[in-house]
Symmetry: C2
Subunit: 405 residues, 2 copies
């Protein structure tokens, strides 16, 4: 009754996806969890690396005085220094502690950035398909999302982005490795984007920020080109949810380009936003842990093997997909193009995936392979049966994928 209109509306629209999860839970209860092939959730089942456990135990036993108290809102100075070295190495630019703001995961970091930069009516450009939560992160702070379709191979369409740049453009938000397509943006594409934004700034006097959302940087099957070097007005935001398998602990950071205009004010604004949005600071114990684990990541080989397993299963069932270069998602073209109908049909065969509409792009379906390799391989029969009966209704798939295996 007295719930905010925007939130009440979202509760209604969210209930469709929620119904799918409830349906999944019902299926697992009815047929047994091992009979249901759940590729719907991006919740890594890989345990944190042993080094995480070692450092957690050490810090717990040590329990230094004052170690759970407040620290500066941007994070412990020594943690920011340690992360600056790591982030600087990844981004190919020397960073200092003052360029790092510790955040409550990447989701917290993105909200902090948008709070810090958006005036009412400002626009943020995203490449479609995209992680749907971006819509809320932007609208929470008075911004408007502008969707620009990706190229057919899911690379950024630089000229299409360029065509949508205006005096209202506060930022371009990119995500590589990409959810849901698994795409890694090539260095030359990023370079072209940086040049487009630089030209826009020179023309308009307003340099849009380039925001790189990079939670999957460490889950990659080829090098992930750094973003910061292509454009000074850039920020990278990431989390340890995937790279250390710590999604429940809510720890990440924002890195500010060292040559960003008014960079000191940007750091202050991000820290202020961290405070007033109620994060106050990133969780203290986890800050101290990740600062000691700058060289540690989960083994991406685990995900590489799973990717191969799922590719094998999908190819065996005659499904076509975008070749995944990173993250733990396979984005498949839907025979006939109706992703809702296809997802519902798969569900009848006890297979769960997320329709492309959940990422703003119909005609595709996302399978998350952050589940056990054996479990993936054992889904092959169900996929084949599902495809056979689906073809009976919809005819053989005539579609082709721009990047088939």
């Amino acid at each position: 009754m007295a719930i905010a209109d925007g939130v009440r509306g979202a509760l209604g629209s969210a209930s469709r996806i929620r119904k799918m999860f409830e349906e999944g839970a019902r299926l697992k209860a009815q047929y047994g969890p091992e009979k249901v092939f759940d590729f719907s959730l991006g919740n890594p089942d890989v345990e944190p690396p042993p080094d995480f456990h070692r450092v957690l135990v050490n810090l717990a036993l040590e329990d230094a005085k004052g170690s759970h108290g407040y620290m500066p809102n941007g994070g412990y100075p020594q943690v920011r220094e340690a992360i600056a070295v790591k982030a600087g190495a990844e981004q190919g630019l020397p960073l200092k502690g003052s360029h790092i703001v510790m955040s409550v995961g990447a989701a917290g970091g993105l909200n902090v950035i948008f709070k810090a930069i958006l005036n009412p009516g400002d626009e943020v450009i995203v490449s479609k398909p995209y992680f749907m939560e971006y819509r809320s992160y932007i609208s929470n702070h008075g911004g408007r999302i502008v969707e620009v379709p990706a190229r057919p191979d899911f690379n950024l369409d630089i000229s299409a982005i360029q065509a949508r740049l205006s005096e209202k453009t506060a930022a371009v938000l990119i995500n590589s490795p990409h959810n849901p397509t698994g795409r890694i943006y090539p260095a030359e594409t990023l370079q072209a984007l940086g040049e487009a934004l630089q030209a826009q700034g020179e023309r308009q006097g307003r340099w849009p920020y380039l925001i790189a959302d990079e939670p999957y940087r460490d889950i990659a099957y080829k090098p992930v080109p750094p973003v910061l070097p292509v454009y000074p007005e850039s920020l990278a935001v990431t989390s340890y949810s995937k790279s250390l398998s710590l999604p429940g602990e809510r720890i990440g950071y924002i890195a500010i380009h060292p040559a960003l205009r008014d960079g000191d004010d940007m750091a202050k604004a991000l820290i202020y936003a961290t405070r007033i949005l109620g994060f106050v600071n990133a969780p203290g114990l986890m800050q101290r842990i990740v600062a000691e684990l700058t060289e540690v990541r989960v083994d991406p080989g685990i995900y590489a093997r799973r990717r191969e397993a799922l590719k094998q299963v999908l190819a065996g069932a005659g499904l076509e997909y975008a070749e995944p270069e990173g993250a733990f998602y396979l984005f498949c073209r839907v025979p006939g193009g109706d992703d809702e109908a296809f997802a519902a049909h798969l569900q009848e065969h006890l297979i769960l995936g997320v329709p492309g509409q959940g990422f703003g792009l119909s005609g595709w379906i996302r399978f998350a392979y952050c589940v056990d390799e054996e479990y993936i391989l054992s889904s092959g029969g169900a996929f084949k049966k599902a495809m056979q009966t689906y073809k009976d209704y919809h005819g053989p798939s005539k579609t082709h994928c721009d990047k088939t295996p």
Copy 2:
């Protein structure tokens, strides 16, 4: 240059307080930290109870599979159940897990509540003086703060609040034990507030929410009456920052009155807001820790002794203050009434406090006594000297306090 206008403005106004902290740091560097009496910060120096350390070590050693992964956005179901029992006992109402939403501290919880309930232009009533961050928590989500002066004894002024209720009133936000005054609102005042809000709802068809911000509930020198029983449309929000001295770990919760209208939708809205604001969920490890510590609190006797020490120091210097019933603040009347000038004068005598203007009320100054008892007692000479020289300029204090010791 491209920082949001609202944030840039705040950076400017915040710099005055920041200068004070910088000045404090300068003084400590110049004269030695033990020579500077810093009563400015509400950062508890009391260590978490030994039980916290025990549970942290146990959980770290156990490191159960999946224990750092995602959980439902409202928190682990078993944690919500455990907290429901604790919160129900405190509030004098039986609560279930479904009435609890785990939050990133009380600051995170308040942002989540305001995101869930505020439409643009909605008003939230607060009693002045108040914790200044409330302004941002409300404006972040499109709301407008309405300040209603407290009674002279800093109790809520129910008829003044009643006079400001309108169809725009989304909520009344109260805080007991109170920062900065240390006031605990009596049961009959809360009862009268509940009746006023009930009458308003019946008249207007819109029942304002009653939001109780209770981070200091466990730091109290007399019983803290529960808020939920006085009015069904109520929410309590709290954290473990003070009760377990864990401010850096960002853990707290929201409790929903079991009879709140559309209570299930309210829970969904709070959980949705937790997700889209980028909190995603309260930090997982800390959730599991506080669920095992529902009977544990820091010893309020430590703060009671410090309170006595500071009262003794202030009385010795001839300063008058509101008798503190809870929290760890003494709110003192400023001789002559110019709190900025008085704070600056105290600073010359190496004493740091926060001018009442920082809480919306000139003529007062806040001293935080979450510092060592000996340290407090050793400040007596400095206070006396400061008062002597201040009187030379401003004449003897003629003010009196409504609740003097």
